[in-house]
Structures are given as structure tokens and as C-alpha cells.
């Protein structure tokens, strides 16, 4: 079974029609996994589990059930809890952690017939996407293995190991890695997908997003995952729209804004700059109006996001103390046990990050840094809301650069990771944002980011479909070609 040129909707239709196809699907998934082993995409993948899932689905189909995601291979980042796989957050701390429950998202996907094949690699606990803090090593980029993929989730979709990938996006991790790997991804409005059973990292920004290879697949996945959940107090109360059925490209008038300061970042690569400029020309040619607007606070977003996420992560990860689960270092006293357990099990990058969080939330710096960042956040939110009242979309590159080379400077701790330059603002404001794959002249993938009004993922999906229809098919690397 060739999973490379099939959409989720087509696969579901075929499998529902003939459940005998589940066997070749599961075999291809296993083959792809074996071929891609070197890429270090998966943390957990179990052939036996996959066989159990396909057998269970076949039985449901035989009973006449018609689940909407029947047979669609999906992967989850390893901070989304599953009872059937360990959930490690790519940290040594949780290498042995098997949650006694599954995330609400996992329950929904299973109920809708998706095949959850494996758990994917990520930065430790969600710490950015351009480092090497994973206890399991860097996830390599399927386009060029010496580059980082940013996350196993995006890489899995890029290689067809999965048609859908679910992963968290705090400051931009999922969107950035989708951009590095040349796939689509959407981070919905904050609260759209339940965080119940997702390991808390930076609660006020963290949102589960989804990566896929087509807009239609993205819409289908989002529809399956979104919706209110009483178990998540930050979950949006409103029902999620039926994205898949609302999806149409339309030819209507669209007004897009671009922050005029978009190219004022030191990390901007020429390839990405040229690519974005030519994209803007193409977009105008499609009849979409593009204006450059002044967004004074947009550039302040990465710093505010760093401070707020560091404080929240410092607190959220305080339960990792070796008392009830996780790594427990040997020590003579309780205090020493904390120190040893956490020193041994956390990467140096994570330790610096939560150390920074502890510092900026201390009495001495609380007002000066944390409160100031919260006020900055409010200004950014207001500014974006005002802009999106006038415009349908905000357009930016997704990242200032294509996938960085793995190794070397990745180890360093950058508070102001330049990768967050474009993705931090919508994350702080809780707005939906989508990344659409584009390509630099070097043939490497990059991303075009579309930011929309809160609650209106539909507008982003429609614009994405319009972009998708107006160009030649997206490119994907040949699996196992490295």
C-alpha cells in the first residue's frame, strides 16, 4: 500500500470499503518505520500494538461501524499521554513513565478509528524545536539528514509514516518543525483542543496542533480533535465548527496584512526572504490584497513568550521530584534527592531554562520581568486583534530560516531563539495560525504563516486550500532515500 499519494479521506473510504486493506496499511507503516529508523523520528513504535489496533478496527468495521478517521495512521508527540505507550516528553526523567490514563485527544482519535502508530521525538518537554535536548537524540530532517527536523511529529508526516501528527505548539514548535519538514500544520485558537492528558509545560500558551500533507486532511483532523472538554478549564466553551464540511477554497475577496517589520530580524536567511517576497507576489496575483501594516509590538513577542513560558515551565515541572514517579537519584536527604534526581534527569538546556523561570518569578524580578512580560502580552493581543478586525489574515514567514544543521550550536541555550520571531505573537495572543509549505531556491522547505482571528480556524483552512489549489502539488522527500 502506497501511503505517499493518498489523502486521509481516500484512505478511510478504501479501508471502510475493504477492511482487508488494513493489513497492507499496517505493513507499509512498519516498513516505513524500519526504513526511517536512522531519522530518529519515533520514541515508541510497536508492531504488535499496531496489529492490535488494526484488528480492533477491522472488528468495528465488521460490526458496521463507520468511524470518520478509520484506518488513518496518526502519531502523537511524546508529551501526550497514552496508556498503551510510555510518555516520556523526550526526557530521561520520564523514560519509564507510563501514565495510568490516556489524553482526551487520544480517546477521541481512537473512538474515530485512527490508528495511533507511535509516539514521536521532540525537544525535552517541548523546549523549542531547534536544539538537541531530547534524551533520544535529535530528530533528523527527512529532506537532509544533517539538518534537524525540529520534531518527530512533522518528520513522520513528511515521510508518510503518518498522515496526521498531533503535537503541542507553545511558542511555535509544531509550526516551525512543519516548516522545516515541508508539511502543513495548524495551531488552533487557544483552548480549541483539550489539554487534558497533555503534560503541562507552559500552560497559558501551549496548545495541541496538527500536521498533515493536505489542507483537507488538516481540516478532517482538526474536526476530530477539537471541542469543549469539562476536564480542561481553559478549553473553549463553544462547540468547534465542522471544519471539513465548511472547507471550500472560494474566490472571494481577501485582505491580508504583513507586518512591515517582517524582515527586521538578524536570523533571516536570504533564501527565506526571497521566497517570502515571491510568495507575496503570487498571492497578489491570486487576487488577494496585501498591505504592509505597522505592528509596533510584534517584535517584542519572543521575549515576552520566553519569560512567561519559562516561569510556567519552572512551576509545571516541579512535580518531577523523584517522589512519586520518574527518576529518583540516590541521596542522603530529601533536599539532596531533589537535586540529584533533577540534575541527572534534566538536560542542561532545560535546567538553564527553568532556572531562568525561577529567577524571573522571584520576588526581586517578578515585577520587572514577569509582570512586564504579561503587560507586553496584553499589548500584543490588543494590537493583533485590532489588525485582524481590518484584515482577514496576517501573513509572515513561519521561521526566518530553513531547517538548521544538527549538532554544534544547538546545544547552546538561547533565551531569544530567533526561530520564534514570527510564531511567538499568535501564541501569546491565543490566535490560530497555520503554516503552509513553500520552498527556497536551494530546494529546502520553508513556511508561510497565516494568522487568523481567534476562534476562526475555518478562515485559515479556506485560505490554505486556496493557496494549495493555486500551485503545483507539494513535494515530499522519498522515504528511506537518505
Amino acid at each position: 500500500m502506497n501511503l505517499r499519494d493518498i489523502t486521509a479521506a481516500e484512505l478511510t473510504a478504501q479501508v471502510t470499503n475493504d477492511s482487508g486493506l488494513l493489513k497492507p496499511v499496517s505493513e507499509s507503516l512498519y516498513d516505513l518505520h524500519e526504513k526511517g529508523r536512522d531519522l530518529n523520528v519515533f520514541i515508541s513504535f510497536d508492531k504488535q500494538h499496531l496489529e492490535q489496533e488494526t484488528a480492533a478496527l477491522a472488528a468495528r468495521l465488521a460490526r458496521g461501524e463507520r468511524p470518520s478517521l478509520a484506518g488513518i495512521p496518526a502519531v502523537l508527540a511524546d508529551n501526550i499521554c497514552t496508556v498503551f505507550y510510555p510518555t516520556t516528553c523526550a526526557s530521561k526523567m520520564l523514560a519509564e513513565y507510563r501514565p495510568p490514563f490516556s489524553a482526551r485527544l487520544v480517546e477521541s482519535l481512537q473512538q474515530k478509528g485512527a490508528l495511533i502508530t507511535g509516539k514521536t521525538n521532540m525537544e525535552e518537554f517541548g523546549l523549542g524545536c531547534s536544539g538537541n535536548s531530547s534524551h533520544y537524540g535529535v530528530a533528523k530532517n527527512p529532506w537532509e539528514a544533517e539538518r534537524t527536523a525540529g520534531s518527530g511529529a512533522a518528520a513522520a508526516v513528511s515521510t508518510s509514516s503518518a498522515l496526521l501528527a498531533f503535537a503541542t505548539d507553545t511558542v511555535g514548535e509544531l509550526r516551525q518543525s512543519a516548516s522545516f519538514c515541508g508539511v502543513l500544520a495548524i495551531r488552533p485558537s487557544y483552548g480549541r483542543i483539550s489539554r487534558s492528558g497533555v503534560i503541562d509545560y507552559a500552560s497559558s500558551m501551549e496548545q495541541v496542533g496538527v500536521a498533515a500533507r493536505t489542507t483537507t486532511d488538516l481540516a478532517l483532523a482538526l474536526e476530530a480533535a477539537a471541542g469543549p472538554d469539562p476536564r480542561d478549564p481553559t478549553s473553549l466553551k463553544a462547540e468547534a465548527p465542522p471544519y471539513a464540511s465548511l472547507l471550500e477554497s472560494g474566490e472571494g475577496k481577501l485582505k491580508a496584512a504583513v507586518p512591515e517589520s517582517w524582515d527586521r530580524t538578524s536570523g533571516l536567511e536570504d533564501g527565506v526572504k526571497d521566497c517570502f517576497q515571491s510568495e507575496l507576489e503570487q498571492i497578489k496575483a491570486m487576487g488577494i490584497e496585501v498591505d504592509f501594516v505597522e505592528l509596533k509590538h510584534f517584535r517584542e513577542a519572543p521575549l515576552a513568550a520566553a519569560v512567561i513560558s519559562a516561569v510556567e515551565a519552572f512551576s509545571n515541572l516541579a512535580n518531577m521530584d523523584g517522589v512519586r514517579f520518574g527518576c529518583r537519584g540516590s541521596a542522603a536527604s530529601l533536599q539532596e534527592m531533589y537535586t540529584v534526581s533533577r540534575s541527572e534527569a534534566f538536560s542542561s538546556k532545560l535546567k538553564k531554562f527553568i532556572g531562568f523561570g525561577a529567577l524571573v518569578s522571584s520576588e526581586k524580578y517578578y515585577r520587572k520581568h514577569f509582570l512586564k512580560s504579561q503587560r507586553m502580552r496584553t499589548r500584543i493581543k490588543d494590537e493583533l486583534a485590532a489588525c485582524l478586525e481590518e484584515y482577514d489574515l496576517l501573513l509572515t514567514p513561519t521561521t526566518p530560516f530553513a531547517a538548521p544543521l544538527a549538532g554544534g550550536s544547538l546545544d547552546a541555550f538561547h533565551l531569544l531563539d530567533p526561530a520564534n520571531f514570527y510564531t511567538a505573537a499568535p501564541a501569546l495572543a491565543g490566535l490560530p495560525a497555520l503554516t503552509f509549505p513553500v520552498y527556497t531556491d536551494d530546494g529546502l522547505p520553508a513556511g508561510l504563516q497565516l494568522i487568523g482571528e481567534t476562534g476562526d480556524e475555518t478562515a485559515l483552512l479556506r485560505a490554505s486550500l486556496r493557496l494549495e489549489k493555486g500551485r503545483s502539488p507539494l513535494k515530499f522527500p522519498e522515504p528511506g532515500s537518505m
Binding site: 490514563f101 497533555v198 519552572f314 512535580n319 518531577m320 521530584d321 530529601l334 533536599q335 518569578s361
Partner: protein, 482 residues
């Protein structure tokens, strides 16, 4: 050094009567098997920490705040207090640091008939910690410690007074009144011995009223009203001793040792002084609309201070009686019910305070567990008032009623206890007594008035205590003097 003034502020923690914990559905029942009332949320397991706020606990806290005359916050917000300790599963405690539920209230205490207001600085809602059991004396010297998380996440309210308390006695009176109020509104059983009410005291002394406060010490581990009283008394003595010798009071936490009757400086726990408090990003603010607060207010019954005032005004009771009878809502209700059957407020008060409370205390029962219905006590009082039985007989009848719940009329009837007030019947008995005791009659005639008492006693003996003592006195006097 003579005009030393004691300045005390109390911090009182009270466990609420909710059936489930503050942020999860686990039971709050006391005394269960260790770690049998836990779940991923109250254990702080990764992926399970999202809190679901217990609405009932919020309403109870608002009710308590209103009963303590506090202003209610317009928005309910929760904050995290971050520190590491083995009984704190998440590494942070969810509390209300920035905006407590209620502020600026007061409680009235009765100081020898004078009303004094003790200011309530704030009241807020928070979660309890687990309980540690050390193999040795404390966490530093034990080979190991065990933790029971059943209590972790149980809702607590913390009530912080202004430093308005001037003596150990005032502290005791305040606690009694506070307990009484919280029991009136039925939100906690406030049992210090079981830990459902806990009290820490900040104690300092100053040279004279209005002068600068000295350094304060914080007293912990006082497990009864008596130990709060004794602890403060001891600490005041100790601090004055230190000052008299020209020393300085060291600001520190001190442990009340009940068996030795002293306070000792506590070994420092591994608790950082900087709790790095910040708003909990998982709990969105909750509005407290006026209608909601009004609805909660309507549930509050007449509270002890105003009820006691009413008892004085309406029933003409002495302040002491009114105070005792309004200590609990059950007792005050009982008293007023009795009055419905026999309206003699002072007699009812006397009988309840001296006889009924004595029987209840001896049996360890609360008034609502008493077998004597208010109607039955009313009947008994009426029988005394109508001189059907004597007070002395009534006491034995009451004891019998208390034991069996039998109707007083039935007891009097069955046992033939009706008082003899019939003069002819009494005259006959008196003549016999005088005949049989010529010595006493002679004594009386020679001016030994004491002989009268002996003769009355003899008459009572002859009648098995049923003679109307007043009548006996009158008739005897007539006979002897006449």
C-alpha cells in the same frame, strides 16, 4: 518595662465540608486507608494535573467571608505558591495570593460583657497538602518517611486576623466565636483535634500601646483551644523574659510542645522563603456577580452575635446566658423551640444551661442527639411552673427523660411524683413530724433557728420529696411561731 502589651494575630486553617477535593473528584472522608483517596490530579502525575474547580468549595468560602463581614472579590483568581516538599505533590500549592476571596471583615467577641471587634485581614481558599509519617523524629533524622496523599487537595480556607488580639484569653474567645460562626453556616466541623481546624499564632510584645511592634514569632502545632491559650501565654512570658534581660526576640517559627508546656525554635524545613507566587495559568478568573453573592447571602442564618443580642432584648436574658445559648445553632434553636411550648425564658435558660448541658456533656452528646424533645422539656418546665412537681423531683424526671426519651407527664404519673401542695395533707404530716421531734421543736423555741431546716428535711423525707417546699416552710413557721 511594666506596660508591656501583647499583640497577637492568628492564621486559622479550616477544612471545608465538601464531599470531594478542591480540584478533583476524590473523596475527602477522614481516616481512610492511606493513599486510597487519590487520582492523577491530586497526586500531581504528569498529564493529570489540570484542575477542575469545586464550585461548592467556592460557595462555602464566599459564605464564610460574608459571615465574617468581609468584602467579596469581584473576580476569583488562584495563584501558585511554589516550593518543594515531599507532602506537596505538584511542587506548588494552589492558593489565593494576589486576590483573596474576602477582605476587610471582623468578628465580635464578648470580653466580660464588652463587645470587641477583631479585624479579619483576609479569607482565602486553597488546597491542603499530604501527610508525612517519619520513621524517626523528623525528616532530617529519619531513615525514611512515608507520605499519605489522601489529604492532598482537600479544600481549606485560611482566615488571617489583623493583629488585634491582646491576650491569650482574647485569642481563645476569638477562636470559639469563629468556630461557632463556621458551624452556624455549616461549612466545617472545626475540630482542632482531628485537624479540621488548625491555628498558628503570630506573637509579639511591645513596650506600650501604640509603640512600635517588637519582632514576632510564629507559633505552630497547637492542637486545641487550650493549647493555643497556653502556647500564647507561654510565649508572651518567654518574650518578656528575653526583653527584661536586655535580649532581643528572634523572629522565628516556634513549635508548641504540649507535653512540656513550652515553645521551642523549629528546625528549618527545606522551604524557601520566596514562594515565587504567580497566577495559575490553568484556572481562568471566575466572576462573582452580585446576584450570585446575594443568593449565597440568603443562605446565611442569624449568626451568634445578633442572635445573642436578640436573646437579651427579646427574652430579657443576662448576657452570659445569651452567650452560652447561642454558641451553637443547634442549642439556640433548641432553646427557642422550648420557649414555644413554655414561655418562661429565664427558667428555660436555667434548666438548659445547668441541667441539660451537664447531662449532654457527661454523655458526650450534641444537643441534636438529645432524646428530650423541646416539647417534652417545655412540658416539664410547665409542670414546675404550675407547682405540679418540685424542682428537686424535676431533676430526677429530667434524668429519666434524658435516658429514655419518655414523656415527663408519663413519668410523673407512673411514679406518683405529683407535688403535695394540699395544705390539709401537709398539716397532717407536719403535726406528726413535730410530735416525733420534740427536741428540735424545743431547740427552735430557744432561738436555734437552724432546727427549722432539720424539720423541713423531715417533712420532705416523709413525703418522699414530693412536698411543696415553700408550702412546708410556711406551714411549719405558722405552727411553731403560732
Amino acid at each position: 518595662m511594666q506596660n508591656m502589651e501583647t499583640v497577637v494575630g492568628l492564621e486559622v486553617h479550616v477544612e471545608l465540608f465538601t464531599t470531594t477535593k478542591l480540584f478533583c473528584g476524590c473523596s475527602t472522608a477522614f481516616g481512610a486507608e492511606p493513599n486510597s483517596q487519590v487520582c492523577p490530579t491530586c497526586l500531581g502525575l504528569p498529564g493529570g494535573t489540570l484542575p477542575r474547580l469545586n464550585q461548592r468549595a467556592v460557595e462555602y468560602t464566599i459564605e464564610a467571608a460574608l459571615a465574617l463581614n468581609c468584602r467579596i472579590a469581584e473576580k476569583i483568581t488562584f495563584d501558585r505558591k511554589n516550593y518543594f516538599y515531599a507532602d506537596l505533590p505538584k511542587g506548588y500549592q494552589i492558593s489565593q495570593f494576589f486576590s483573596p476571596m474576602g477582605t476587610g471583615g471582623y468578628v465580635e467577641i464578648n470580653l466580660d460583657g464588652k463587645i470587641k471587634k477583631i479585624g479579619i485581614h483576609q479569607i482565602h481558599l486553597e488546597e491542603d497538602t499530604g501527610k508525612l509519617f517519619h520513621a524517626g523524629d523528623d525528616i532530617l533524622t529519619s531513615a525514611y518517611s512515608r507520605v499519605d496523599f489522601n489529604r492532598a487537595g482537600v479544600p481549606l480556607i485560611e482566615i488571617v486576623t489583623e493583629p488585634d488580639i491582646r491576650s491569650a484569653e482574647e485569642a481563645r474567645l476569638f477562636l470559639q466565636r469563629l468556630r461557632s460562626i463556621l458551624r452556624y453556616i455549616d461549612i466545617s466541623d472545626c475540630k482542632m483535634e482531628e485537624g479540621s481546624m488548625r491555628c498558628d499564632a503570630n506573637v509579639s510584645i511591645r513596650a506600650a500601646e501604640g509603640s512600635a511592634l517588637g519582632d514576632k514569632t510564629e507559633l505552630k502545632n497547637m492542637n486545641s483551644f487550650r493549647s493555643v491559650y497556653k502556647g500564647i501565654e507561654y510565649e508572651v512570658e518567654r518574650q518578656s523574659g528575653v526583653l527584661k534581660e536586655g535580649g532581643k526576640v528572634i523572629p522565628e517559627t516556634r513549635h508548641w510542645d504540649e507535653s512540656k508546656g513550652i515553645t521551642t525554635a523549629m528546625r528549618s524545613k527545606f522551604v524557601s522563603a520566596d514562594y515565587r507566587c504567580f497566577p495559575d495559568p490553568n484556572l481562568p478568573p471566575l466572576e462573582t456577580p452580585a446576584e450570585w453573592v446575594e443568593k449565597i447571602k440568603e443562605k446565611i442564618p442569624e449568626l451568634p452575635s445578633s442572635r445573642s443580642r436578640r436573646f437579651i432584648d427579646d427574652y430579657g436574658l443576662p448576657p452570659y446566658d445569651a452567650e452560652v445559648l447561642t454558641v451553637s445553632r443547634g442549642l439556640a434553636d433548641y432553646y427557642e423551640s422550648v420557649l414555644r411550648y413554655h414561655r418562661d425564658p429565664k427558667a428555660a435558660s436555667n434548666w438548659i444551661m445547668s441541667e441539660l448541658l451537664r447531662l449532654l456533656n457527661a454523655a458526650g452528646l450534641e444537643v441534636d442527639e438529645c432524646k428530650i424533645q423541646p416539647e417534652a422539656l417545655g412540658k416539664l418546665l410547665k409542670m414546675i411552673g404550675d407547682e405540679v412537681i418540685s424542682g428537686k423531683i424535676a431533676k430526677t424526671v429530667l434524668e429519666e427523660m434524658f435516658a429514655s426519651g419518655e414523656d415527663p407527664e408519663a413519668i410523673v404519673e407512673r411514679k406518683g411524683l405529683v407535688q403535695i401542695s394540699d395544705e390539709s395533707a401537709l398539716e397532717e404530716i407536719i403535726s406528726r413530724v413535730l410530735e416525733n421531734n420534740p427536741k428540735s421543736v424545743e431547740d427552735y423555741n430557744q432561738g436555734k433557728k437552724k432546727a427549722m431546716g432539720f424539720l423541713v428535711g423531715q417533712v420532705m423525707k416523709e413525703t418522699g420529696g414530693k412536698a411543696n417546699p415553700q408550702k412546708v416552710n410556711e406551714l411549719l413557721k405558722e405552727k411553731l411561731d403560732g
